[in-house]
């Protein structure tokens, strides 16, 4: 009798719970639809017409001025775009003129560009976008790429003029930033506007819905001014664990994801998946911080450290062969100078350099010293990046053979201040203009010169390369720059990384010819050619 009561009680509760679970909380943020486009917002979402991308992390917001995101070039387009060879080409701009002193750029724009909400893109939107990036009050992570912009002004309804405070060849690359509609921000605080979670762009795909930290749904924008995309819907799922991503790729639950080098073999063997190995301009290096310690002031010490780096071993064992030994920041650039010193692995040379510099083991504790000071420093690395941590650990053991006492400090990014680290495992590299990631790193006054590196020849050649538009002249300056940098290293260059993407065989159109950016960014560059079979 009691058991019956108990069982019936349990059954009642179970039904109740099932009902409760059925109607859940609303976590989906949908675009506010009015009567006109409520029909347009109804999309047909099924497995056959949807490309599912497994991302390591979800973007926290969708405003290109505030920060970069996975699908920036799907949702938004800019004045310029970069082609297969990473050269800037006109996109929303139809043409541009550069003044002789390289300080004034005048752009003409198309008049047939529509935003996803149906409104026309005007010159005011372009001006608003650029002014917002340089606005001090706006929490943008893109701002430091636009610091050379002095003023942006309207010339007429289809043209604008950008005035710089110093020549900046990389400006055209920077102007790929997505244009945002001014009317979405009227009367709103830019940093907290609804737009940031419900974006309206002019790219080939428009925003449908976003479920916090879970999934993002995009659908094709049929009024796109360029080639209409072939794939109807794109969904981005948040799958932080790389094992889960590989598993879902092999079962066909997702169509595309960034994978780890250790998973390539297994996924290549699977007949339903293809692995794409794409070169990137993303390199890893050790930065010497001249401001935090004077150990690196002697160039021989730095050269010794470079000679004691077995780049091949790093490429083979840490990134499982998916990388290239690095010796220059412009290796994949057309201005590369490959006749510079590459510091091929040579322990004996490293040891003799240190002896020459006066660092010997005078007290027999197997650590070199000089005038009572030990050759010891800390190598800091972000703990969340496995490759960097492995590189740091490896280098410490290699440099120990030289008699150097180097300790690894693996910290969370939020606790790292690179300017205070004696040495840091840094990542840089841009596939675009050579000025992009050189001037600001290696010039004495460079904004991202954390280690306070200073070399007169480097300063001179980088400045000269900026103020001329003649390709031959620039090539000469950059060749000189790389030579000077190799003789007086600012970094111990280690390796360039290869991006590894795995896609289901039903996805066609993915090309591996374009060099990608940091962590494989930019893989969707030819999305109009992608198809689902």
């Amino acid at each position: 009798m009691k058991t019956k009561k108990l069982i019936s009680l349990v059954l009642c509760s179970a039904t109740l719970l099932a009902l409760l679970a059925g109607c859940g909380g609303g976590e989906v943020s949908k675009k506010p639809s009015n009567d006109e486009d409520s029909k347009a917002n109804e999309i047909s979402l099924d497995r056959d017409n949807t490309l599912i991308y497994g991302a390591e992390s979800m973007d926290s917001q969708f405003n290109p001025v505030l920060g970069s995101m996975h699908f920036g070039d799907l949702l938004f387009r800019g004045l310029m775009t970069t082609d297969e060879n990473c050269q800037p080409q006109c996109d929303i701009a139809t043409s541009y003129k550069i003044s002789d002193d390289l300080l004034e750029y005048t752009f003409k724009i198309r008049d047939d560009v529509l935003f996803h909400d149906g409104t026309k893109l005007t010159i005011e939107d372009v001006i608003f976008t650029l002014k917002s990036v340089i606005d001090e009050k706006i929490n943008s992570s893109q701002r430091d790429g636009f610091l050379q912009i002095e003023n942006v002004e309207k010339v007429d309804d289809t043209s604008l003029r950008i005035t710089l405070n110093e020549p900046f060849p990389a400006l055209l690359d920077k102007l790929t930033i997505g244009i945002i509609p001014e009317h979405c921000f009227e009367g709103k605080d830019f940093n907290t506007a609804d737009f940031n979670m419900e974006p309206v762009g002019c790219g080939p795909y428009k925003f449908v819905s976003y479920e916090t930290d879970s999934k993002l749904v995009l659908t094709r924008f049929n009024d796109f001014y360029g080639d209409t995309a072939k794939i109807e819907n794109i969904v981005c799922l948040c799958l932080p664990d790389y094992n889960v991503r590989a598993l879902q790729l092999s079962t066909g639950e997702i169509d595309l994801a960034y994978i780890e080098p250790s998973q390539v073999e297994e996924l290549e063997a699977n007949k339903d998946t293809t692995v794409y190995k794409i070169d990137t301009a993303d390199y890893r290096c050790v930065m010497f911080n001249f401001g935090a310690t004077d150990l690196f002031d002697d160039v021989k010490v730095r050269q010794a450290l470079c000679y004691a780096t077995d780049r091949k071993a790093v490429v083979d064992s840490i990134v499982h062969g998916y990388g290239v030994a690095a010796y220059s920041p412009l290796q994949l650039n057309k201005f590369n100078n490959d006749s510079v010193e590459k510091y091929d692995y040579n322990l004996d040379k490293a040891k003799s350099l240190l002896d020459e510099a006066g660092w010997t083991d005078s007290d027999g504790d197997s650590i070199r010293d000089k005038n009572g000071e030990k050759l010891a420093f800390t190598l800091t690395t972000p703990v969340s990046d496995e490759v960097r941590v492995n590189i740091a650990t490896y280098l410490v053991s290699e440099w120990k053979k030289l008699g150097i006492d180097c300790k690894v400090d693996a910290l969370d990014w939020s606790a790292i201040d690179i300017t205070k680290c004696e040495a840091f495992v840094l990542g840089w590299g841009s596939p675009f203009d050579a000025d992009n990631d050189t001037y600001r790193l290696f010039c004495t006054t460079g904004t991202d010169n954390y280690g306070l590196y200073s070399n007169d020849t480097v300063d001179e050649t980088l400045k000269k390369a900026r103020i001329t538009s003649d390709k031959g002249e620039r090539a000469g300056h950059y060749a000189e720059f790389q030579e000077a940098l190799a003789k007086d290293p600012a970094y111990d260059f280690i390796c360039y990384l290869t991006a590894l993407y795995c896609a289901n065989t039903r996805v066609s159109g993915i090309k591996t010819t374009k060099i990608l950016g940091h962590h494989g960014a930019g893989v969707f560059w030819n999305i109009e050619e992608w198809e689902l079979n």
């Binding site: 009680l9 949807t50 992570s141 907290t192 479920e211 879970s214 969904v235 799958l239 991202d448």
Partner: protein, 320 residues
């Protein structure tokens, strides 16, 4: 009686106020930087100048007391501020995430109570049986395993190896509806239930055994009172401390969610708080801590009131 309730409510408000001050001070003392969230994967590019600019924009260069006062005055007006990470309104974030956590809590708490009652009562009635001993041992073993490990083992078993259940989130892309939502809940609920059910059932089991060995039970048996009546009385008596026990464990359920939601990528309050900590997202953190605090303190107040309702001795003590 009403005086007592009002006194308790005022006490709760005071506790929340003190808690908010301590939380604010702790967040301030911890390492972390909102600029890190805004820059995300481009941290190499974050210069000191930019870091300072962003911190100034967010008002983090003002003194601690000023910032707390600003937060408090806004909060009392119902505005919990905007996330430092993406400018989203904290009210909206919490409205989106709270139902998920409440659902998880309701389902797992309910199941824990029901299952532990069924199991505990049965074991209590059959002391020294295999089930009785089994529960005692299992409870000690499971309490020793951290819930993060339990969660990972369950995901590995049911999601990776068997493929029966999804490994994260609240709903699938294509299939929607009640069945899909329940599938997404199963592993999280199972983890939370497993962490608590053994100690809950052990509590009932021990309580029941103790009651059964008390004097009035012996007297009742001697007077040929039916087994059924004895058990009805004994159960009522042992359930009162159980309600206290269950109620006082509500905070531990919520602290457990922080782990389970993060492992399972479940968009609830727990994972929201965990995500906001390394970036020192004050508005989100304070909002999350406050909401959790309110839920926890209200549940303890509810437990006390249920106690009063069930226990005439307490009622008399309060009225005096």
């Amino acid at each position: 009686m009403t005086k007592y309730i009002i006194k308790r409510i005022l006490q709760s408000v005071f506790i929340l106020f003190v808690m908010s001050i301590i939380a604010f001070a702790l967040i301030n003392a911890a390492p972390g930087d909102p600029a890190a969230a805004i820059y995300g994967g481009q941290m190499d590019k974050l210069t000191q100048a930019e870091r300072e600019r962003i911190n100034t924009n967010l008002g983090l260069d003002r003194p601690l007391a000023t910032r707390y006062y600003n937060w408090l005055s806004e909060m009392l007006g119902g505005r919990m501020g905007y996330s430092y990470e993406n400018g989203k309104s904290v009210n909206q974030i919490i409205t989106e995430r709270m139902p998920n956590t409440l659902l998880l809590f309701a389902v797992s708490f309910f199941l824990t109570v029901i299952i532990s009652m069924v199991v505990g009562l049965w074991a209590g009635r059959h002391p020294y049986s295999a089930l009785d001993r089994g529960i005692t041992i299992t409870s000690i073993v499971i309490n020793g395993i951290p819930s993060v490990l339990v969660a990972i083992i369950l995901i590995f078993l049911f999601s990776v190896k068997l493929g029966w259940l999804p490994s994260s989130g609240t709903s699938s892309i294509f299939a929607t509806g009640a069945a899909d939502r329940i599938k997404h809940l199963v592993i999280s609920v199972l983890t939370v239930v497993l962490s608590h059910v053994s100690s809950f059932s052990r509590f009932i089991q021990e309580g029941l055994k103790e009651e059964l060995s008390s004097y009035y039970v012996t007297v009742a048996r001697a007077n040929h009172v039916s087994n059924r009546d004895i058990y009805m009385g004994v159960m009522k008596n042992s359930l009162v401390p159980f309600i206290n026990y269950a109620g006082s464990h509500v905070p531990s359920f919520f602290s457990g969610f922080v782990v389970v939601e993060t492992v399972f990528a479940y968009p609830g309050l727990g994972s929201m708080i965990v995500g906001a900590i390394p970036i020192k997202d004050y508005p989100v953190l304070m909002g999350g801590i406050l909401i959790t605090g309110i839920v926890v303190i209200s549940s303890m107040l509810a437990v006390d009131l249920i106690d009063l309702a069930l226990n005439p001795k307490l009622r008399r003590a309060v009225e005096r």
